[in-house]
Symmetry: D2
Amino acid sequence: MYNSEDFLVTRLGNNTVPSPLHLSKETGDGVFNYINDEDRVLYKPTLEYFNLCENENIKPVSFEKAGPKEKIYFDPNKTKVAIVTCGGLCPGLNNVIRGLVMQLYNRYGVKRIIGIKYGYEGFIPEFNHDIIDLTPEMVEDIHMFGGSFLGSSRGHQDPAMIVDALERMNINILFTIGGDGTLRGAQAITEEVRKRKLKIAVAGIPKTIDNDINLIEKSFGFETAFTIASDILRGAHNEAKGAYNGIALVKLMGRESGFIAANAALAVQEVNFLIVPEMEFELHGPKGFLHILRKRLERKNHALIVVAEGAGQDLFLDKEIKNDASGNIKFKDIGIYLKEKIKEEFDNRKIRYSIKYIDPSYIIRSAAANANDSLFCNLLAQNAVHGAMAGRTGFIAGYWNSQFTLLPIPMAVKEKKKISIEGELWSNVLETTGQPKSFKNSSDTEILRLK
Amino acid sequence: MYNSEDFLVTRLGNNTVPSPLHLSKETGDGVFNYINDEDRVLYKPTLEYFNLCENENIKPVSFEKAGPKEKIYFDPNKTKVAIVTCGGLCPGLNNVIRGLVMQLYNRYGVKRIIGIKYGYEGFIPEFNHDIIDLTPEMVEDIHMFGGSFLGSSRGHQDPAMIVDALERMNINILFTIGGDGTLRGAQAITEEVRKRKLKIAVAGIPKTIDNDINLIEKSFGFETAFTIASDILRGAHNEAKGAYNGIALVKLMGRESGFIAANAALAVQEVNFLIVPEMEFELHGPKGFLHILRKRLERKNHALIVVAEGAGQDLFLDKEIKNDASGNIKFKDIGIYLKEKIKEEFDNRKIRYSIKYIDPSYIIRSAAANANDSLFCNLLAQNAVHGAMAGRTGFIAGYWNSQFTLLPIPMAVKEKKKISIEGELWSNVLETTGQPKSFKNSSDTEILRLK
Amino acid sequence: MYNSEDFLVTRLGNNTVPSPLHLSKETGDGVFNYINDEDRVLYKPTLEYFNLCENENIKPVSFEKAGPKEKIYFDPNKTKVAIVTCGGLCPGLNNVIRGLVMQLYNRYGVKRIIGIKYGYEGFIPEFNHDIIDLTPEMVEDIHMFGGSFLGSSRGHQDPAMIVDALERMNINILFTIGGDGTLRGAQAITEEVRKRKLKIAVAGIPKTIDNDINLIEKSFGFETAFTIASDILRGAHNEAKGAYNGIALVKLMGRESGFIAANAALAVQEVNFLIVPEMEFELHGPKGFLHILRKRLERKNHALIVVAEGAGQDLFLDKEIKNDASGNIKFKDIGIYLKEKIKEEFDNRKIRYSIKYIDPSYIIRSAAANANDSLFCNLLAQNAVHGAMAGRTGFIAGYWNSQFTLLPIPMAVKEKKKISIEGELWSNVLETTGQPKSFKNSSDTEILRLK
Amino acid sequence: MYNSEDFLVTRLGNNTVPSPLHLSKETGDGVFNYINDEDRVLYKPTLEYFNLCENENIKPVSFEKAGPKEKIYFDPNKTKVAIVTCGGLCPGLNNVIRGLVMQLYNRYGVKRIIGIKYGYEGFIPEFNHDIIDLTPEMVEDIHMFGGSFLGSSRGHQDPAMIVDALERMNINILFTIGGDGTLRGAQAITEEVRKRKLKIAVAGIPKTIDNDINLIEKSFGFETAFTIASDILRGAHNEAKGAYNGIALVKLMGRESGFIAANAALAVQEVNFLIVPEMEFELHGPKGFLHILRKRLERKNHALIVVAEGAGQDLFLDKEIKNDASGNIKFKDIGIYLKEKIKEEFDNRKIRYSIKYIDPSYIIRSAAANANDSLFCNLLAQNAVHGAMAGRTGFIAGYWNSQFTLLPIPMAVKEKKKISIEGELWSNVLETTGQPKSFKNSSDTEILRLK
């Protein structure tokens, strides 16, 4: 459980510069009002939580509401900004870059904006990457394309060297667009900045195609991702039905959570088995996956299986664990493993079958954002700018209860958001697929019904 | 302002039938829990509202949370259900129909489901429309297509005659999928049912492509609608730039609110003028639209204008007002009117220009739902079924703070949801388009900046 | 019937400059060969025509094959090129512009390329439009967008003034991308150039979204157009089925030929009535359209009607005829006229119905080219460059029997390509729609079958 | 070189049944004319070939023109038809099935049509697959979906057993939709039928997503395939540019020919290296691929590589060769091999890079046909029906010089259609990619230019 104090965003100092936004301080004049420092969004919007807080006299947990402030910290004329994108591609990266530049340049009047190439390593001299001066003209059309206009990279870089570079270039605000590892990096930079008593704001725009960042209702690019995944699942369903005992096996993203897989399955309604990291999963035995799969083929002669990349990792437990350049645990490839095990099972039993394995991850993540994500990226970028210009630091631009929020980075990276096996989403997945609640032999699952 | 009591949903009686869903009553067993009757979603998830309620000892306004109940009212074996779709087409209609049938048939075991053809008039003998027996096989693929599998119609029908038909066919639950007028009809049916002391549940699934139903965060099909509109705006932008003083004028849906237009404009970022019903709008004078448009063409030589169909209706005030078959005010065509006025203006001033008028409404509304709407429709339908099976009546399946709710119909049709001219959405539109906050001469708007 | 002599393309002079393309003169070395001046493509690739020519000793009609020549006329270092786009938008315009620039700059080494803004009027001083220096960097991504990067306009301009401008700017080659009117203009420019004894090549890339240019198998953008039209017809079919006696009426492009409408109808297979300029069409009487439509509604209760914009123009015969700025006959709006007549018919007969009218022309023509058109545009542009660099003038880049050709402009504009009412395409349309072969009362058509 | 006699299609007997199509025998009556038995399409539509034939008195090679005949062989009332789909999925399979059923049922009045499940094995009793009675209602919407409504399989089956089944079921016409192996099977069935002196027509609809069937200008599904491939290449390009020394490696279909890869590359214009089976390819050495790739990365820091699945097979020459169930040579996976070799190269040289490998084959082939392919599939199916009803057997429905043809199966399977390394298509690929004409060290290629 959280405490309200955990969610106070650090401020660089007193805000004394009038905002250039010409918004309003009063209701009724037909002009949008500045956000007050006290405006906060409740963590749990339920009556139950309300009653609990009231009865037990608890201050409800809440998040700072994002938005424009009447007084800001940085003087736009004297402010220089850097933008960096880190980690893997995600639909909407270019929309966020564009949104930051447009908001800074057109709305706040910050004219000096630089783009750092290829992630955090762009700060490190030995890599010798170029710096790009970003202008509205340059970024005008980039949101029509997938990928990252700035390039990206994985990998930890020394926060001290990054702050050296920020100092050298006189940067006042750093926007980092990236996932868990990137945000931890941003936090380390924030701390190094504080240690040096600098006045540099560090703002994160959380990027996770898996939609697994804590306390963020949805992350940009996620909807585009499961939309494209849905189309691919339809094709995979055609592959499954197109052959006798046809099996289509699709691996989707989801290192620690299966949100893309679950949402795509709910959108398409044709998935027969959905295997995610959050669930118990055994291959063998009467309640194991292979047995259940075989039973389905006997009845229906085809099956569409979707597996999230981080699922079933305990099947590899005996083998050593690796980390990738970002410090993420490097996952064994469950998709290929599962394909091999299915082949083994059916070959051994001399059952005719046909299996097609599909791994569309790069196709999904390199696509351009759809309309809803485009809109969302833009608002996210705008709110990140509002926060940073108001002197907030060590924060990310979040989204909760359909409102934009500002969250301290440490809370966002404390743990991963996961599908609750006891929640509504998973319940719907079970209904849609008709699969048992787990593939674990020791489980007391009744296999009630198989579609 | 609302009172909590306004949001109590009517119940047909005591729930005594055990749910066939095999969910859980306790946390920690890995199975989704039934929803309690007391579970409610707060209207305003802000700390400010929390403090107000606590300080002034107000019971916060909240909505009944939707979901499966442990005890239900109707015995599935003895239940017969009717489904009807009314009003104009909307992406997702078939997903909702399919979702209702699948949930009723597969999950609750209700096997007698009929479809009423062509809206409420399908109940009225003189129209002599067929009745369709709906089965999972029949609706399996309908969600891949736009339109309504059942057909639809506008127009008020006598509630007494509809209840006569429900009685004649031994219907226990009526699901009506439709907009404002349809829901008012559903409420009238509910009242007629009560008057006759019948035990028929009436459940509404609110359909409004305009996203303008009160107390509903988003309506199904809305996202698909603004997504398609976005693509069309990109083409319109090409038309505008493709000619000297090129003007592209797109009329989008939005009888009383401009949500589709506003969201599409924010997704595309190329709209120069957005005219919605919520704003003040004059054509002539120094702050009038035509003057501002002319100024833009002088600087940029092209303009993309989006107008919501219900905008500028006061321009027609002197003429009589008509109602369409559903009782909606029949709007004068602002798109064609505006095109004529623009032509007049530029012809009179002998300024060379080229205008292209685009009215894509039927193209948008007849499309199939996108992935996110597909998923949403399904959940909406499931929750409507949960509510009705639990004996709720005169309600709609709603969505608020990212949770599904049950709302009494009268609250949903009390007023229309509109864009707040003083809110964040409109503020973002103004920033994106660069247009003044109103086109009214008496307004004190400074025309600060024109992009 | 044509003569072979009609298809000789004018040459500016002897070709003495070696091509910079480094292709081959011999077969078997694994390098593409230069095209010989004698390479020609047969007009009619049938055995019947072969036998006729052989028996009657006729020289078969043939077209010059397009492609790179070993010797060219213009010295790339000394060549300056202008590109202009005229008339309405069409998918692929930007691909053609890009293809011309890339081919000229990268392959031939022509570095001085200018873009003329807003069509032929960009040459005329009084319009005072800018000139753009075109480089590969500038056009690199333009093919991802619909519209015309250069802007366009309709309207005749004085050829003498255009040639004045070409002389003033020292242009050696003019590429005009446009339709019938534009090509007539190009021919007039060619003649003015010849009169002045200048050595300026004039090359046309035929643009007609209607696919109606004579002796051109397919025109760029046409496939994209009927593809988008197909999607719109699917939605329209949903509209028709969504209401009792629902009528969806879609107007598609096609001033003098119904190719877009016919191809879209064959792709979609849901159109019930297809009305094109080439067919006989009466509204009233027992074989007239309104009667046949009514009969269908009685049987099926819905109808999807597609009308090409140039159809049924004799219905307006009594009214005066106008020309638009390009000299095209300005067509009466058959779509709106038909809608009114249908309403009249059903209102008068007190038959309940619902009609939806859809005019998607601007949506279709402003879209970006699909993959096949993108590829085609590029090859078309490349072949236009080959022709012009080899000193051909007064020609268009054509396509016939799946090969690229060069055609004298006068042959291309001599008449319009039309659907043969006695041909296979129309036969297939009749089969797909089930409509009678004409809607003319004096016709001897048996109404054999109505689907 | 071919002889005219090679292209005579076998006829089952004299045609004595009047066609039920009600077409015309004369020109000028506004009704499509029946095709004469003598109507033929020239193989080479060039003037050069014409002159050669005339001068040397050669009968030009030509193909039978497809189309409706005035007299047909089979009496529709007494005719029973079987349809089977074999081999891998391909966009348009369902359109062809639907087209056959609609044409047979609606146009010719053949009411007894059965679908064989899962390819040729559906004829073999031991597999025990169901037979489906096909009706217009059943297939009405199947063209909206990818896959095969009938299911498919690979693998040779005994022609005698298939003819046994045809006899048992009283089948008069067999339509087989499949590739090279399937057509060889169809030929074997044709011969077995002849040996038994049966009057069963065997008609093939050639299916090859690779577009590699001899004497067929384009095959159905091919355009859809390279269209989807194009979108995927755009994403891959984003992946390449998104990382420092980013390499995106995409494997596309193309066992013996690289048409999909080449067409996609020409449509997208962003491919840097295209590797197809037709080209010489070495990995190592100064003109080998790895060296050239390294040089590009040094200059540009990213590369998009496309490899057709059948390319570079000589790299595996030392290893044994396998056949798949259809008798196709089972290709070693060049994509994975190439990825490993690239990694080796850059790892060994300690050059930083990032490689993304994408294999979208199943995604592409399981998609629904696009508009142009939908139209094409329909016409292909119609012409196959015309041919079979007219008693042609052992033939395929072809397409040449934009006309539908009938070809004897042996000519279609004699050899594969391949990209000519000396032809225009490959020349364009070289220009677009900027790659050398081969990656062979012994080649005399000057590496003239690298983009």
